[in-house]
Amino acid sequence: MGRILAFIPLAIAAIFGGFFLWGLNPDRDPNNIPSVLISQPAPEFDLAAVDGLETPGLSRADLVGNPRPVIVNVFASWCVPCRAEHGVLTQMVEKDGLTLFGINYKDKPEDATKWLAELGNPYERIGSDLSGRVGIEWGLSGVPETFIVGSDGTVLFRYVGPVVGETAISTFREALIQAGALARGQNG
């Protein structure tokens, strides 16, 4: 019995070693978070409006049949980077005339209302995802995340983290141009 027990640490260490060897594969980049949704239809969902807000709710049907691809932004009032990102998104709506939908993620309705009252509300529709269930469908890794969805309801692009700062904004604008939501050379 003692003999077998004494082998357990070695066996566990060997298993760990196997995983490590696999993990060292040079093609593997732990920082690259792929999305299973890219080029796939957006997931089915139907979210009610945020309580106390006049902006209507959001469902999958709203993503389909728009004249240009739309932006779907996942935000929350408790999320610090969202506050920074808010101004960027507002400009895209006001200056570029883009359509912006919001998913208010795990947020108290009164906090969200207060937040939008303070910063302004650029969203055409906002769905309230209190439970975070729809966030799972979209494969969120955190808040904020921003998606570009084509007129046929296909997810074209995903940006993880706030669209803030020169590099992020130009990456995102380039994706908008690729998607056909913006004309090249159109300045914000």
Binding site: R3, L10, G17, P26, P30, R83, A84, Q91, V164, G165
Partner: protein
């Protein structure tokens, strides 16, 4: 020229390590005293040559020698001198050199101070230590030479990551490494004992001071790192369960278990194979940390520049050292005869519970840290991250029973304890802990149940530790001079335990206070904006541009008042380092025992009408957070007191003189 000397010195150190890894251990097998004694001089030789290499690299950093690639990549002529020196260990290559230096320092320390250790055990231990040296020296010479030159040399260097330009952080790696690498000598002792096939009370006594020294450094290193994150990163937290924090925490947990199980081996000749296993695993976890940080296996803020070749080399090193030692363990451990018997209620049983809980906690942290990798491998590429919710939900429930056991354990006697009698003595402590918790509940007006439960256990630990100490010196029971005399006669290791256990209770007050009762505001501010937080009224008075030696900064001015009375001014900064093209947050903190008022600022990301001329202000009130650092300091000092105990220092007797029965129960 100096860099070549450094490079050559490394090669000489490798030659010495090669000799030392063969000769002494063969000598121990054949009884050749001369061969065994050769370990002494080759240990000194190793530390001498690695030390020369280290000084040569430091010289290159201090004189900003931009013909050396490592200096170009990690230094800059404008950098303050302190950080030029600290730059020596700021990179992968340099920190590896520091790692190896500390490895050889511990080998030499055993050669120098281990005069009470039998020659054969010492020779074997030093040979094992030399095997590790060989591994790391070849790693450095083959894949990570810190002395590589560049031609043509650039005009100036690329600067050390400005986040790392902080006094606390300059000291953090050396301390952490002393802890990490210090466990190497304990590992070597364990492997030597397995080879020799003999583990007894005397062995445990020889190993304990080295374990303690390593544990103290690791405690200090982790505390400093956490302190740095708190002050420098501007997030207002002190622990993030980041993979790299976790890999330094795992050896600490395991090392703490080892520290306690070695006591049982020393006093009662029991838990032998367990102690050996813990010694092997503690250092294995240190090696694992080195591997994770340097291989790019997991994503983390700490990771060094990644190179798969290096990762593969360290994995090979891990396979040989961990695999080899565990195989040796599997072969030899079953032959070790079990030691003293004990009842389910006894000091031994208490320490067994301590060990099992600490090992479980280590397992949880290990699993949580590596789960993203396992998941990715199992699903063929899907990714996820494991964050604080997992660790808080699984780690804390294991730690709370441990804290309960910590309050009880020191009252139990060896072999068989009288539980009813112990509980009798602890009635008062229970009442006190409950009362203190109720008072807090009344004053703090609410909070989560788990918070109060943790708080009650922290009070329990604190009071029961003090009560035990008071009982030993008969405080208030005997006349005061009698108590002083008893306190003097009490072994220092006993005082050390009291201090360390009370220190953990103190740190817990800090953990709980700053987690449960923390308040936070994030707002846009303009000159004149007022915020109320934690009973303070904070007014933002404006921001201005200031210059530093290698940066410029936007500095905000905050006026803090309490009930209308001026308290202090705070100056949070947002620094930009033009050379390294990085910005850092310098938070401003008003620190008191009751709590920290913590402010940091940033420019709003998008400038439109609504945010014109505004700043993002993040302001936090963290109650009791300083108790964490005080508690950590008490842990380290407690370790120091134990280390200075007579028993560990002088005349740690030879094998025959340590019949366990001759020792008084403590």
């Amino acid at each position: 020229m100096t860099p070549e000397i450094g490079h050559f010195a490394l090669a000489l150190a490798l030659a010495m390590a090669l000799v030392q890894s063969v000769l002494p251990i063969l000598g121990a097998g054949r009884g050749n005293i001369l061969w065994m004694q050769s370990a002494r001089w080759s240990s000194f030789g190793q530390v001498f040559f690695v030390g020369i290499a280290f000084l040569a690299l430091m010289q290159a950093f201090v004189t900003s020698d931009f013909t050396v690639k490592n200096v170009v990549e990690n230094s800059n002529s404008l950098k303050p001198m302190l950080f030029k020196v600290a730059g020596t260990w700021g990179s992968h290559e340099g920190s590896l050199l520091l790692w190896t230096l500390i490895l050889t320092v511990f080998g030499a320390a055993v050669a120098l101070f281990g005069s009470n250790i039998p020659l054969s055990l010492k020779a074997r231990t030093l040979s094992v230590q030399a095997w590790i040296s060989v591994g790391f020296l070849t790693f450095m010479l083959l894949t990570s030479n810190p002395f590589d030159r560049v031609f043509p040399p650039p005009d100036d260097g690329q600067d050390l990551n400005p986040l790392l330009q902080d006094v606390g952080l300059a000291m953090h790696p050396p301390l952490l490494y002393f802890g990490y690498v210090g466990f190497s000598i304990v590992f070597s002792f364990a492997v030597a004992a397995l080879i020799e096939g003999r583990v007894d009370a005397a062995w445990a006594r020889w190993v304990r001071p080295w374990t303690l020294a390593a544990w103290m450094s690791l405690t200090a290193g982790i505390a400093l790192g956490s302190w740095w994150a708190y002050y420098e990163l501007g997030w207002g937290g002190w622990w993030f369960w980041d993979p790299v924090e976790n890999v330094s925490f795992m050896p600490w947990l395991m090392g703490t278990a080892l520290l306690h199980s070695a006591i049982v081996t020393e006093k009662r000749d029991a838990f032998k194979s367990w102690t050996i296993l813990l010694a092997i695993l503690t250092f294995s976890l240190s090696l694992l940390g080195t591997f994770i940080v340097r291989s790019g296996l997991l994503t983390s803020v700490h990771a060094f520049a990644v190179d798969p070749e290096r990762g593969l080399y360290i994995l090979g090193l891990l396979a040989v050292s961990i695999g080899g030692s565990l195989a040796l363990f599997a072969w030899r451990a079953p032959t070790m005869e079990p030691g003293g018997l004990f009842k389910p209620i006894s000091r031994e049983a208490g320490l067994l519970v301590n060990n099992l809980l600490l090992a479980t906690a280590t397992g949880i942290v290990l699993f949580g840290t590596l789960y993203p990798l396992f998941y990715e491998a199992a699903t063929g590429g899907e990714k996820l991250s494991v964050g604080p919710p997992f660790f808080n939900a699984s780690f804390i429930p294991v730690m709370l029973p441990l804290v309960f056991a910590m309050g009880l354990g020191p009252y139990l006697s060896w072999k068989r304890a009288d539980l009813a009698g112990v509980l009798q003595r602890l009635r008062f402590v229970v009442v006190l802990a409950v009362l203190a918790t109720l008072v807090t509940w009344y004053l703090a007006e609410g909070g989560p149940v788990l918070g109060y439960l943790s708080l009650m256990l922290a009070f329990w630990l604190f009071f029961s530790t003090l009560r035990e100490w008071a009982m030993r010196i008969k405080l208030f029971e005997a006349p005061f001079p009698e108590s002083v005399r008893r306190a003097r006669n009490l072994p220092r290791s006993s005082h050390g335990m009291t201090l360390a256990h009370a220190g953990l209770a103190m740190a817990m007050f800090g953990f709980i206070g700053s987690t449960v009762w923390k308040s936070e505001e994030i707002i846009f501010v303009r000159p004149g904006t007022e915020v109320s937080i934690g009973g303070f009224d904070v007014t933002f008075e404006g921001a201005e541009r200031v210059r530093g030696p290698n940066y410029f900064a936007d500095r905000g001015t905050l006026r803090v008042a309490r009930e209308g009375n001026y308290v202090t001014d705070l100056f949070p900064e947002r620094r930009t380092y033009p050379v390294a093209q990085t910005t850092t947050t310098e938070s401003a903190i008003r620190s008191t025992m009751a709590g920290d008022l913590y402010a940091s600022i940033a420019n709003p990301a998008a400038e439109d009408e609504s945010t014109q001329g505004a700043w993002t202000l993040r302001i936090l009130y963290e109650p009791l957070v300083n108790f964490i650092w005080i508690g950590s300091a008490m842990l380290v000092l407690g370790g120091g007191l134990s280390l200075s105990d007579r028993r560990l220092r002088v005349g740690a007797p030879r094998r025959k003189a340590t019949a366990p029965a001759a020792l008084p129960a403590e």
